[in-house]
Protein backbone atom coordinates (compact mmCIF):
# COMPACT_ATOMS: atom_id res chain seq x y z
CA UNK A 1 0.00 0.00 0.00
CA UNK A 2 2.78 2.38 1.03
CA UNK A 3 4.79 1.53 -2.08
CA UNK A 4 1.76 2.08 -4.31
CA UNK A 5 1.17 5.48 -2.75
CA UNK A 6 4.81 6.39 -3.21
CA UNK A 7 4.59 5.31 -6.83
CA UNK A 8 1.51 7.46 -7.42
CA UNK A 9 3.17 10.49 -5.79
CA UNK A 10 6.35 9.93 -7.78
CA UNK A 11 4.35 9.58 -10.99
CA UNK A 12 2.54 12.82 -10.28
CA UNK A 13 5.85 14.60 -9.66
CA UNK A 14 7.33 13.22 -12.86
CA UNK A 15 4.26 14.13 -14.92
CA UNK A 16 4.15 17.64 -13.44
CA UNK A 17 7.82 18.24 -14.01
CA UNK A 18 7.65 16.73 -17.46
CA UNK A 19 5.24 19.50 -18.44
CA UNK A 20 7.83 22.13 -17.67
CA UNK A 21 10.60 22.60 -20.18
CA UNK A 22 13.49 24.89 -19.41
CA UNK A 23 16.75 24.96 -21.33
CA UNK A 24 19.52 27.20 -22.53
CA UNK A 25 20.97 27.34 -26.02
CA UNK A 26 24.51 27.54 -24.67
CA UNK A 27 25.66 26.29 -21.30
CA UNK A 28 29.05 27.96 -21.80
CA UNK A 29 29.51 31.51 -23.02
CA UNK A 30 32.37 33.96 -23.36
CA UNK A 31 32.41 36.92 -20.99
CA UNK A 32 30.22 39.68 -22.41
CA UNK A 33 28.19 37.44 -24.69
CA UNK A 34 24.73 36.16 -23.92
CA UNK A 35 22.85 32.90 -23.60
CA UNK A 36 19.23 32.35 -24.42
CA UNK A 37 16.96 30.80 -21.82
CA UNK A 38 13.85 29.14 -23.23
CA UNK A 39 10.91 27.69 -21.35
CA UNK A 40 7.50 26.26 -21.93
CA UNK A 41 5.09 25.56 -19.09
CA UNK A 42 2.21 24.39 -21.30
CA UNK A 43 -0.42 25.30 -18.70
CA UNK A 44 -1.09 28.95 -19.53
CA UNK A 45 -2.66 29.73 -16.14
CA UNK A 46 0.52 28.81 -14.21
CA UNK A 47 2.55 31.47 -12.50
CA UNK A 48 6.17 31.38 -13.63
CA UNK A 49 9.17 33.05 -12.08
CA UNK A 50 12.86 32.79 -12.92
CA UNK A 51 14.75 33.38 -9.69
CA UNK A 52 16.88 36.47 -9.99
CA UNK A 53 15.13 37.53 -13.21
CA UNK A 54 11.48 37.91 -12.24
CA UNK A 55 8.03 36.84 -13.45
CA UNK A 56 7.87 35.48 -16.98
CA UNK A 57 5.02 34.35 -19.28
CA UNK A 58 4.18 30.68 -19.56
CA UNK A 59 6.14 30.34 -22.77
CA UNK A 60 9.02 32.40 -23.96
CA UNK A 61 12.71 33.09 -24.05
CA UNK A 62 15.09 35.65 -22.68
CA UNK A 63 18.72 36.55 -23.33
CA UNK A 64 20.94 36.69 -20.28
CA UNK A 65 24.52 37.92 -19.95
CA UNK A 66 25.83 36.75 -16.59
CA UNK A 67 29.22 37.98 -15.48
CA UNK A 68 30.10 34.68 -13.89
CA UNK A 69 28.85 31.11 -13.58
CA UNK A 70 25.14 31.41 -12.87
CA UNK A 71 22.32 28.99 -12.31
CA UNK A 72 18.86 30.01 -13.46
CA UNK A 73 15.96 28.32 -11.73
CA UNK A 74 12.49 28.46 -13.20
CA UNK A 75 9.60 28.08 -10.78
CA UNK A 76 6.28 26.96 -12.14
CA UNK A 77 3.53 27.42 -9.58
CA UNK A 78 0.59 25.20 -10.32
CA UNK A 79 -2.59 24.52 -8.42
CA UNK A 80 -0.81 21.58 -6.73
CA UNK A 81 2.39 23.30 -5.69
CA UNK A 82 5.54 24.30 -7.48
CA UNK A 83 7.87 22.64 -9.92
CA UNK A 84 11.42 23.89 -10.30
CA UNK A 85 13.96 23.42 -13.06
CA UNK A 86 17.52 24.71 -13.14
CA UNK A 87 19.90 25.41 -16.01
CA UNK A 88 23.53 26.45 -15.70
CA UNK A 89 25.33 29.07 -17.71
CA UNK A 90 29.08 29.01 -17.30
CA UNK A 91 31.04 32.13 -18.21
CA UNK A 92 34.44 31.11 -19.55
CA UNK A 93 37.38 32.87 -18.02
CA UNK A 94 35.36 34.59 -15.30
CA UNK A 95 36.63 34.86 -11.78
CA UNK A 96 35.15 32.18 -9.58
CA UNK A 97 32.97 33.08 -6.64
CA UNK A 98 34.11 31.89 -3.23
CA UNK A 99 31.44 29.28 -2.53
CA UNK A 100 31.98 26.77 0.28
CA UNK A 101 33.65 23.73 -1.19
CA UNK A 102 31.52 21.17 0.56
CA UNK A 103 27.82 21.49 1.54
CA UNK A 104 28.46 18.99 4.36
CA UNK A 105 30.25 21.76 6.24
CA UNK A 106 27.02 23.62 6.86
CA UNK A 107 25.87 23.34 10.44
CA UNK A 108 23.02 23.76 12.86
CA UNK A 109 19.99 23.33 10.60
CA UNK A 110 16.88 25.21 11.62
CA UNK A 111 13.59 24.50 9.94
CA UNK A 112 10.15 25.98 9.82
CA UNK A 113 6.97 25.37 7.93
CA UNK A 114 4.61 28.10 6.83
CA UNK A 115 1.71 28.85 4.57
CA UNK A 116 2.28 31.32 1.76
CA UNK A 117 0.02 33.18 -0.65
CA UNK A 118 2.17 32.35 -3.63
CA UNK A 119 4.94 29.79 -3.57
CA UNK A 120 6.59 31.28 -6.63
CA UNK A 121 6.59 34.73 -5.05
CA UNK A 122 7.95 33.32 -1.82
CA UNK A 123 10.78 31.56 -3.62
CA UNK A 124 11.59 34.78 -5.48
CA UNK A 125 11.48 36.70 -2.20
CA UNK A 126 13.93 34.28 -0.59
CA UNK A 127 16.29 34.92 -3.48
CA UNK A 128 15.80 38.66 -3.03
CA UNK A 129 16.59 38.51 0.67
CA UNK A 130 19.81 36.64 0.08
CA UNK A 131 20.99 38.56 -2.96
CA UNK A 132 19.63 42.07 -2.51
CA UNK A 133 19.17 42.50 1.22
CA UNK A 134 22.14 40.48 2.43
CA UNK A 135 24.34 41.03 -0.64
CA UNK A 136 25.29 37.44 -1.25
CA UNK A 137 25.97 35.85 -4.59
CA UNK A 138 23.36 33.12 -4.79
CA UNK A 139 23.49 29.86 -6.69
CA UNK A 140 20.14 28.12 -6.95
CA UNK A 141 19.56 24.53 -7.87
CA UNK A 142 16.73 22.10 -8.00
CA UNK A 143 17.77 18.48 -7.79
CA UNK A 144 14.20 17.54 -7.01
CA UNK A 145 11.37 19.33 -8.86
CA UNK A 146 9.61 19.98 -5.56
CA UNK A 147 12.41 21.83 -3.80
CA UNK A 148 14.80 24.67 -4.40
CA UNK A 149 18.21 25.01 -2.80
CA UNK A 150 19.93 28.37 -2.40
CA UNK A 151 23.67 28.32 -1.82
CA UNK A 152 25.37 31.61 -1.07
CA UNK A 153 28.97 32.56 -1.41
CA UNK A 154 31.21 33.09 1.61
CA UNK A 155 30.92 36.74 2.53
CA UNK A 156 32.83 38.59 5.23
CA UNK A 157 30.59 40.30 7.77
CA UNK A 158 31.62 42.78 10.40
CA UNK A 159 28.75 41.77 12.68
CA UNK A 160 30.24 38.31 13.05
CA UNK A 161 33.12 39.65 15.12
CA UNK A 162 32.17 40.60 18.65
CA UNK A 163 33.84 41.89 21.80
CA UNK A 164 34.58 38.40 23.08
CA UNK A 165 36.99 37.91 20.18
CA UNK A 166 39.24 40.70 21.44
CA UNK A 167 41.71 41.66 18.75
CA UNK A 168 42.57 38.09 17.84
CA UNK A 169 40.60 38.01 14.62
CA UNK A 170 41.00 39.57 11.22
CA UNK A 171 37.44 38.64 10.35
CA UNK A 172 34.69 36.07 9.90
CA UNK A 173 32.67 35.15 6.86
CA UNK A 174 29.49 33.21 6.41
CA UNK A 175 27.64 31.28 3.74
CA UNK A 176 24.07 30.01 3.88
CA UNK A 177 22.41 26.96 2.49
CA UNK A 178 18.65 27.44 2.33
CA UNK A 179 16.31 24.73 1.18
CA UNK A 180 12.66 25.38 0.40
CA UNK A 181 10.44 22.35 -0.13
CA UNK A 182 7.00 22.27 -1.55
CA UNK A 183 4.42 21.14 1.02
CA UNK A 184 0.67 20.74 0.62
CA UNK A 185 0.07 23.39 3.26
CA UNK A 186 2.79 25.77 2.12
CA UNK A 187 6.55 25.57 2.16
CA UNK A 188 9.11 24.02 4.46
CA UNK A 189 12.30 26.06 4.88
CA UNK A 190 15.60 24.79 6.22
CA UNK A 191 18.45 27.17 6.96
CA UNK A 192 22.04 26.14 7.60
CA UNK A 193 25.18 28.20 7.73
CA UNK A 194 28.90 27.74 7.39
CA UNK A 195 31.14 30.20 9.18
CA UNK A 196 34.88 30.66 8.84
CA UNK A 197 37.28 32.88 10.70
CA UNK A 198 40.81 34.04 10.16
CA UNK A 199 43.23 35.05 12.83
CA UNK A 200 44.61 38.54 12.94
CA UNK A 201 47.99 37.72 11.43
CA UNK A 202 46.81 35.09 8.94
CA UNK A 203 45.31 34.84 5.48
CA UNK A 204 44.02 31.33 6.10
CA UNK A 205 40.29 30.91 6.60
CA UNK A 206 39.48 28.27 9.21
CA UNK A 207 36.15 26.61 10.05
CA UNK A 208 34.42 28.22 13.00
CA UNK A 209 33.42 25.98 15.87
CA UNK A 210 31.45 28.45 17.98
CA UNK A 211 28.01 26.91 18.02
CA UNK A 212 26.35 30.05 19.36
CA UNK A 213 27.35 31.97 16.23
CA UNK A 214 25.81 29.38 13.94
CA UNK A 215 22.65 29.33 16.02
CA UNK A 216 22.36 33.11 16.04
CA UNK A 217 22.88 33.57 12.34
CA UNK A 218 20.63 30.66 11.36
CA UNK A 219 17.90 31.95 13.63
CA UNK A 220 18.21 35.47 12.21
CA UNK A 221 17.81 34.27 8.64
CA UNK A 222 15.01 31.83 9.39
CA UNK A 223 13.09 34.57 11.23
CA UNK A 224 13.59 36.80 8.24
CA UNK A 225 12.25 34.16 5.87
CA UNK A 226 9.32 33.45 8.17
CA UNK A 227 8.45 37.13 8.08
CA UNK A 228 8.29 37.27 4.29
CA UNK A 229 4.80 37.92 2.87
Amino acid sequence: MGRSLAFIVASLCVSRSAELHFKTDSSQIEAGSSAKLQWNAQAAEDKLVILGVGPVPSTGSIAVSPKRHTNYTLIDETAHGFVARTVEVEVLGSRGTDFPPDPDQFRYPLSGQRAVHSKADFLAAVFGVLQNDLNFTVRTSSLNPADVEYLTNLSERADLVDASDGNRLRGRRIAYLVNVQDQPAGVYCTVKSYIQFRLRAEDTWRPESREDLYQRKDRELLNRLQALP
Binding site: R168, R200, T204
Partner: protein, 152 residues
Protein backbone atom coordinates in the same frame (compact mmCIF):
# COMPACT_ATOMS: atom_id res chain seq x y z
CA UNK B 1 95.94 55.21 8.11
CA UNK B 2 92.33 55.98 8.54
CA UNK B 3 92.83 57.30 12.02
CA UNK B 4 89.76 55.45 13.24
CA UNK B 5 89.95 52.65 15.72
CA UNK B 6 89.04 49.30 14.35
CA UNK B 7 87.78 46.59 16.69
CA UNK B 8 90.11 43.82 17.55
CA UNK B 9 89.69 40.40 16.01
CA UNK B 10 88.10 39.18 19.21
CA UNK B 11 85.70 42.10 19.43
CA UNK B 12 84.84 41.65 15.79
CA UNK B 13 83.94 38.04 16.43
CA UNK B 14 81.81 39.08 19.39
CA UNK B 15 80.03 41.67 17.30
CA UNK B 16 79.32 39.25 14.52
CA UNK B 17 77.99 36.62 16.89
CA UNK B 18 75.95 39.24 18.74
CA UNK B 19 74.44 40.49 15.48
CA UNK B 20 73.31 37.02 14.43
CA UNK B 21 72.20 35.96 17.90
CA UNK B 22 70.20 39.16 18.37
CA UNK B 23 68.59 38.79 14.96
CA UNK B 24 67.68 35.19 15.62
CA UNK B 25 66.35 35.85 19.10
CA UNK B 26 64.34 38.86 17.95
CA UNK B 27 62.81 36.90 15.08
CA UNK B 28 61.94 33.96 17.31
CA UNK B 29 60.52 36.32 19.94
CA UNK B 30 58.25 37.93 17.35
CA UNK B 31 56.98 34.56 16.17
CA UNK B 32 56.38 33.43 19.76
CA UNK B 33 54.62 36.71 20.48
CA UNK B 34 52.27 36.18 17.53
CA UNK B 35 51.52 32.68 18.75
CA UNK B 36 51.01 33.57 22.39
CA UNK B 37 48.64 36.39 21.44
CA UNK B 38 46.61 33.94 19.38
CA UNK B 39 47.25 35.80 16.15
CA UNK B 40 48.57 32.71 14.38
CA UNK B 41 47.54 29.08 14.72
CA UNK B 42 49.67 26.01 15.42
CA UNK B 43 50.34 25.15 11.78
CA UNK B 44 51.64 28.60 10.92
CA UNK B 45 53.60 28.76 14.18
CA UNK B 46 55.37 25.52 13.32
CA UNK B 47 55.92 26.66 9.75
CA UNK B 48 57.43 29.93 10.98
CA UNK B 49 59.82 28.21 13.37
CA UNK B 50 60.85 25.77 10.68
CA UNK B 51 61.43 28.55 8.17
CA UNK B 52 63.45 30.66 10.58
CA UNK B 53 65.53 27.67 11.63
CA UNK B 54 66.23 26.85 7.99
CA UNK B 55 67.20 30.45 7.27
CA UNK B 56 69.44 30.95 10.28
CA UNK B 57 71.00 27.52 10.69
CA UNK B 58 73.68 27.79 7.99
CA UNK B 59 74.92 31.18 9.17
CA UNK B 60 74.34 31.00 12.88
CA UNK B 61 75.65 27.45 13.04
CA UNK B 62 78.83 28.34 11.20
CA UNK B 63 79.46 31.54 13.11
CA UNK B 64 78.80 29.98 16.50
CA UNK B 65 80.91 27.00 15.55
CA UNK B 66 83.78 29.24 14.62
CA UNK B 67 83.27 31.42 17.67
CA UNK B 68 83.42 28.47 20.03
CA UNK B 69 86.12 26.58 18.25
CA UNK B 70 89.54 26.15 19.76
CA UNK B 71 91.03 27.79 16.73
CA UNK B 72 89.27 31.02 17.45
CA UNK B 73 90.04 30.86 21.14
CA UNK B 74 93.67 30.27 20.38
CA UNK B 75 93.93 33.74 19.06
CA UNK B 76 93.89 33.17 15.35
CA UNK B 77 91.51 36.01 15.26
CA UNK B 78 91.02 37.99 12.13
CA UNK B 79 92.18 41.48 11.86
CA UNK B 80 89.08 43.55 12.03
CA UNK B 81 89.56 44.97 8.60
CA UNK B 82 87.59 45.14 5.42
CA UNK B 83 86.49 41.52 5.71
CA UNK B 84 84.87 42.22 9.03
CA UNK B 85 83.18 45.39 7.80
CA UNK B 86 81.79 43.49 4.87
CA UNK B 87 80.64 40.58 7.04
CA UNK B 88 79.01 42.74 9.70
CA UNK B 89 77.30 44.96 7.11
CA UNK B 90 75.91 42.00 5.21
CA UNK B 91 74.86 40.32 8.44
CA UNK B 92 73.14 43.43 9.73
CA UNK B 93 71.31 43.92 6.45
CA UNK B 94 70.19 40.30 6.36
CA UNK B 95 68.98 40.32 9.95
CA UNK B 96 67.25 43.67 9.55
CA UNK B 97 65.34 42.40 6.53
CA UNK B 98 64.24 39.27 8.37
CA UNK B 99 63.23 41.20 11.48
CA UNK B 100 61.56 43.86 9.36
CA UNK B 101 59.45 41.33 7.51
CA UNK B 102 58.34 39.75 10.77
CA UNK B 103 57.67 43.06 12.47
CA UNK B 104 55.30 43.90 9.63
CA UNK B 105 53.11 41.06 10.88
CA UNK B 106 53.44 41.98 14.53
CA UNK B 107 53.07 45.74 14.30
CA UNK B 108 51.31 46.38 11.02
CA UNK B 109 48.82 44.60 8.82
CA UNK B 110 50.97 41.82 7.38
CA UNK B 111 50.05 38.17 7.33
CA UNK B 112 52.24 35.28 8.33
CA UNK B 113 51.64 33.31 5.13
CA UNK B 114 52.84 36.13 2.91
CA UNK B 115 55.71 36.83 5.27
CA UNK B 116 56.88 33.21 5.12
CA UNK B 117 56.95 33.49 1.33
CA UNK B 118 58.85 36.78 1.57
CA UNK B 119 61.31 35.28 4.04
CA UNK B 120 61.98 32.46 1.63
CA UNK B 121 62.45 34.88 -1.24
CA UNK B 122 64.66 37.43 0.51
CA UNK B 123 66.55 34.74 2.41
CA UNK B 124 67.47 33.08 -0.86
CA UNK B 125 68.28 36.26 -2.73
CA UNK B 126 70.32 37.79 0.06
CA UNK B 127 72.23 34.59 0.72
CA UNK B 128 74.34 35.56 -2.32
CA UNK B 129 75.35 38.65 -0.44
CA UNK B 130 75.73 37.25 3.06
CA UNK B 131 77.35 33.89 2.42
CA UNK B 132 80.37 35.23 0.46
CA UNK B 133 80.85 38.06 2.95
CA UNK B 134 80.93 35.68 5.89
CA UNK B 135 83.08 33.17 4.06
CA UNK B 136 85.48 35.95 3.13
CA UNK B 137 85.69 37.02 6.76
CA UNK B 138 86.41 33.50 7.99
CA UNK B 139 89.02 32.81 5.37
CA UNK B 140 90.75 36.18 5.30
CA UNK B 141 94.34 36.41 6.63
CA UNK B 142 94.38 36.40 10.40
CA UNK B 143 96.29 38.53 12.78
CA UNK B 144 97.29 38.03 16.37
CA UNK B 145 94.99 38.87 19.21
CA UNK B 146 97.59 41.20 20.58
CA UNK B 147 97.16 43.54 17.70
CA UNK B 148 93.84 44.61 19.00
CA UNK B 149 92.81 48.21 18.60
CA UNK B 150 95.78 49.05 16.49
CA UNK B 151 95.64 52.08 14.37
CA UNK B 152 94.76 51.37 10.73
Amino acid sequence: MSGKKRPSGSTARHLLVACWAAGFIASMAMVFSLYVRGWIADDNFHASLTRLSALYAPYLGGIFGYYLSNRAKAGRAHDAGAAFVLAIAASAAWNLVIAGLLSRVLFFDGTIEQTLKDLMFFGSVMSWLVAPAIAFYFTSPSSQEGEANHEG
